[in-house]
Symmetry: C2
Subunit: 187 residues, 2 copies
DNA sequence: TGTAGCATGTAAGCCGTTACATGATTGA
DNA sequence: TCAATCATGTAACGGCTTACATGCTACA
């Protein structure tokens, strides 16, 4: 039962597409390569770290849909492209942010999966994996804290900063939880 | 540089395939349908809630690879299949748990994504989404707490119980974090 | 007698990955 | 001059989803 079928218009792009539009809206014109690096400092922590090739193919689709503009220059035999949000792209982004469905977060947690299957391996294996995970969490925490510092109190990055703080808090809690579970698994 | 190439044997299945083998190892013989329901009570919280059709196609592949056994009976014009872990499947599962690479967890958090893009919408929209998310978290928390209770202190489900407690703790912390962020966004 | 739940499957297609291929620029 | 980094792409394919198709069983 679709009331205004002429508006049905399949979504112009995937969530990751909108995320990339969002990055462009935050930082302005940049290359696909730069966009990928920015995604690795931002989206990576709460969405995905898209593969380089995926960023390019996604930008291609966004360009075909008119949501981003490309300014192409030449460098030797190759083209250098810089992408920026078009008026249409900004509208699409705003609309999606205002109306789009929001999924409950999905966690793909291989460490938890292996703990869950501890009845197959006994406690040694999950304990080892939790130790490694603990070390990775410390590293991630530091990376994110560094990113948070780099955002300063620039009002442009206020929301980015809030998300970073949320992430840091999450990693901290996760470290505490891991410590607790490790203890329960015995020495 | 692969030292024993004859062992290279591409992984018999995906992580989700191993997860299903794990469920079979935990609960024994069951139908694809039952497996899906079990996944919705377990894997759902830390891995995925696979679509019904995916469970069937995955079981088909596992059966072709000899990792699960099927006992097929007839009911009217349809076949009824019950799946259980084969000896080969159990070996594969153990081997994967012992040797497999473990990815750092991936979070696909649309609420965080929209908060991150708050510079486009202003604070109203993320605040609204955080409110809805808070309610969903409460519901999830209760669901998981109920599952935890149902596991009791049966030693067979010890690890499942630990993961459930980890999840409950995570949801609790997430609720606190959301409350904190909502406050920062103002009334 | 109707409907909710149990049960099994196929087809099309999207999202995203890895592997591969290539070239320009900067700085040690 | 070599390596690291910046930079752009194509091809093949895997994992998972939605939509579709179908039938049996229990029970209100």
């Amino acid at each position: 039962m679709n009331i205004m079928p002429w508006m049905a218009s399949q979504a112009p792009t995937s969530v990751t597409g909108y995320a990339l539009l969002g990055l462009l809206s935050l930082r302005g014109e940049m290359s696909g390569y730069a966009l990928k690096k920015l995604a690795d400092r931002t989206l990576r922590f709460f969405w995905v770290a898209p593969a380089m090739s995926h960023v390019y193919s996604e930008l291609g689709r966004l360009a075909r849909a008119g949501l981003v503009q490309q300014s192409v220059t030449r460098r030797g035999s190759r083209s250098l492209r810089r992408y920026s949000l078009s008026a249409k792209g900004e509208l699409a982004l705003r609309r999606w942010l205002a109306d789009g469905e929001v999924e409950f977060p999905v966690l793909k947690h291989e460490v938890a999966l292996r703990l869950f299957l501890g009845h197959v391996t006994g406690p040694e294996r999950p304990r080892h994996l939790l130790d490694r995970y603990q070390a990775q969490l410390r590293k991630r925490s530091e990376d994110l804290a560094e990113i948070r510092r780099s955002l300063g109190d620039d009002p442009r990055f206020l929301y980015a900063a809030m998300v970073a703080e949320w992430g840091i808090r999450y990693y901290q809690e996760e470290q505490a939880a891991v410590t607790h579970i490790s203890k329960r698994l015995g020495t």
